[in-house]
Assembly symmetry: D2
Homo-oligomer: 306 residues x 4
Amino acid sequence: MAKLAYLGPEGTFTEEALRLMEPDAERLPCPTVAAALNAARSGEADGAVVPLENSLEGAITTTLDEFAWGDPLLITAEVLLPVRFSLLARPGTELVHIKRVYSHPAAITQCRGFLSRELPDAVVVAAPSTAAAAQEVSLPGSPYDAAIAAPIAGEHYGLVEVAANIGDRPDTMTRFVRVGRPGTLPEPTGADRTTLVVFLADDHPGALLEMLTEFSVRGVNLTRIESRPTGDGIGRYFFHFDLEGHVADARVGEAISGLHRICSEVRFFGSYPRADRVSPQIKRGMDDSDFTEAAAWLSRIRAGDV
Amino acid sequence: MAKLAYLGPEGTFTEEALRLMEPDAERLPCPTVAAALNAARSGEADGAVVPLENSLEGAITTTLDEFAWGDPLLITAEVLLPVRFSLLARPGTELVHIKRVYSHPAAITQCRGFLSRELPDAVVVAAPSTAAAAQEVSLPGSPYDAAIAAPIAGEHYGLVEVAANIGDRPDTMTRFVRVGRPGTLPEPTGADRTTLVVFLADDHPGALLEMLTEFSVRGVNLTRIESRPTGDGIGRYFFHFDLEGHVADARVGEAISGLHRICSEVRFFGSYPRADRVSPQIKRGMDDSDFTEAAAWLSRIRAGDV
Amino acid sequence: MAKLAYLGPEGTFTEEALRLMEPDAERLPCPTVAAALNAARSGEADGAVVPLENSLEGAITTTLDEFAWGDPLLITAEVLLPVRFSLLARPGTELVHIKRVYSHPAAITQCRGFLSRELPDAVVVAAPSTAAAAQEVSLPGSPYDAAIAAPIAGEHYGLVEVAANIGDRPDTMTRFVRVGRPGTLPEPTGADRTTLVVFLADDHPGALLEMLTEFSVRGVNLTRIESRPTGDGIGRYFFHFDLEGHVADARVGEAISGLHRICSEVRFFGSYPRADRVSPQIKRGMDDSDFTEAAAWLSRIRAGDV
Amino acid sequence: MAKLAYLGPEGTFTEEALRLMEPDAERLPCPTVAAALNAARSGEADGAVVPLENSLEGAITTTLDEFAWGDPLLITAEVLLPVRFSLLARPGTELVHIKRVYSHPAAITQCRGFLSRELPDAVVVAAPSTAAAAQEVSLPGSPYDAAIAAPIAGEHYGLVEVAANIGDRPDTMTRFVRVGRPGTLPEPTGADRTTLVVFLADDHPGALLEMLTEFSVRGVNLTRIESRPTGDGIGRYFFHFDLEGHVADARVGEAISGLHRICSEVRFFGSYPRADRVSPQIKRGMDDSDFTEAAAWLSRIRAGDV
């Protein structure tokens, strides 16, 4: 039975994602994304589940940076989780009693409509995480009357759901990934995603255009691009890419080999099945069979057999 | 005398930036970036000063999103501020007494080295902002012994500097901008920056490459690119760009007109002098005089005068 | 009544094209394309009709070069003429009598199938033009029994058609253009063509890619591209372009202004209705109304009205 | 001893090129470029020497087309020959006696300055080739007084040089190639050229840009590009390319494999040492060692060893 680290405490959306991906895994809650990844790196856990991007908030930059800078890890699976916020309180609390609300700023932002409509006079205070807010609210002497958190947090901390689905956009999704130490990649399924981090060789104008051309010329589509600061000063970036396809695909392999040749460093973070099972539209000439045939043709003409 | 809103409470890095840009302005601290921008939008203040990006943490996504979604504002100036963290405590506190440290997670991250070296056993707790942490620590019954915050916060809240410059990277910088309601743009200085938000017409493969080509074909360099989720689902983005030059420059005007034609929306957030005073290297044929001469030539040939 | 110079002698395909374009014009046959163009340049004629490209033989390089190097001329019309070759002989000649055939090498090449099938033993001799071949054959003491030429040449020189339509590819077409001294351009019709000659600023790798990008970024399609030597050594070229659209179209005007800025010289040879009346597919954002709207938008944002 | 076919008759510039490349070869003059290439194809000769491009006249389109459409041949060597024209006449002829000049139109064009200066009243008549002109002039009853041809033609046909170096541009060069039946390619020398013919898969706008991008993304420079009509109608082209490097070079191999995948047909006409011995400037990441290293890296990451 696998042991998986995750961003805790118990009751986070990440725990919900972990349970969806591997219901039987032993769970190791960690205080930060970094701690969860390091548990996977050190062998304390067999892997980790962490959030990577959110359809409202964007990339989870902590995760991106921890991937980029720490020891290598490989993503082996992903899951898309609808983000459902509940207003959680100690048993017996009613909406009219709630004067002080505690939650993570992102959750507060995403529930702005509900708060101004239903609790216009409440004081809203920022917490380190939604689960931590629930945990705090569950303590008998807590100064807070309610937390905004995942329903699962209510179960963990013995809170009741005063209101459910209070997010302004009910279709909000978060993408979580399961990572592990380097090893065998998942087999290609025809509907895969590949994640990379790329450092530019030099930051000349047009460098980003050159990188994107390495993808487009082999018909590889990007599904996500993030620039992140290298830390060496304003205007110095590295890039996170998600792209359609598996590194075992010929077009993907040639594209990222091309990147590897022109960039100072390309870090590979895995090829894994897409949660949405969407297969890429492969352009003319970009299928594996096209590459195989072209390689055979090249061998022939190099031998003078035209 | 201008009245400028900013991300408060008193003692934030943003206040420091505001004072650097407009020492004589009346200052209106606001609880959030959104509140500061809205004070500028409503006329409650004449403008606002907000952080836009940090050389370690990257884009301040709250600011980016508030720009993209709210009523239009124009950036009229920027400043680069070195980020210097101090360990602040109530008078009489010494390093050995500090058991509980309170600060914003970004500050905690950036002072990791100092904390593990000097305060390996301290409990470190996340606060909503560095200034709020200092304010909390200044209260007599506070459960926290010290805050990590800007030196200015110490002055505001009557704390002493137990340790100074405790950031791991002493060269960390944050870029702040001053924004105001739409109106006259600052004059071009030859070393300007322009900020845009761009929404794609449709999210086809190659759309980003097309956008970048609109810039590169007119010799316009980007200094920052951020993808941000539109909120319509994982994989749907809009883009933030900073580029070299002023919208009054012919090459910049033609490039962003080109973007405007192929994208569903381009929002212009101002052209303003760069804080670093770096002038762009203008490629052959891309100077204003080249555009003027080419326009005259085009008029001639359209009249059949070849 | 216009007087038009053309590549003679009487009976050439060019004469046929001229009659098709301007049946009532006075005709001035000239010994070479250069002579015809110079008659138009000098005012000896009001214009000239010359061949520009052939669907089998390609560009008529003499015409291209005369355009590029001489005084400016503007193309005002084009016509596509099917190339129909006849075997022409003095009255009374039958196929079995024909031992020596005279024609222009291009015509010989294009009738190779007929010659090897019907006249396998004939000696075939190269002539300066098809009409000159017909003229020669018409002389009483000519050593040649037949000419391959346009049917019109038979009429001129009193020859009979021993065989008609003897070309191997009956769909062969030649494109002829009518040129005149610089002056008012034909009005845009929605199905126009524009002809340019472009000299590179410097012959760096990627210069051709840059030129093509000036077109593609404004959605302008090329219908013909020819590289021609500048005469300054092997590997030094200038380029001939035909493109879809009229210089009065905004997208075309901006594209060739862009070329003008990055190239050492762009020579404009006219915008004129296409003979095939094919209208271009205009990409999203590339219509005149899109450019007008974008220019108005740019004016607004430059005035700070966002 | 090799037997080489060439464009005759004896005395052509092609013969001069052949003698320069292979002084000891047996020579087989042929009436046309097609005949020379076919002699090589059929085995009647071991190879052929034909002209490919001229620094004043451009591509020798007959040669390009014969390459494109006939059975495959490989270029194994090239030579650059200065084009020196002489005015050749029967012994005893002086300049003042010359009333009728005979030569190939290209030679007439290239000697225009001399003719108008020294022989303003002479009648100038077009001949099928310069050597054929010399041959004709050598016949006792010839109606022509002089030929413009290569000096070598004078030797062959017993003519004297009335004037030497009469070309308007003394630096004119012609590039000749030696071709043979498919077989082993010449070894890479570091200063090689590769010749291709490419047929588009479909003639969509941007197809040429896509082809050029296949080269540029691998840092392969073109030294010549020609569009030639496919014969299927005005506006339908195929392309001739000369590029820097040898097909054995990794960057060249990957680029033309890429072309092969996206085009309907790529025909390879050989990789051979450049006559001018110019080595390409290889861009960062485009050397063979870069490709080898990138392939090893790709193998590692495909095995999950990151």
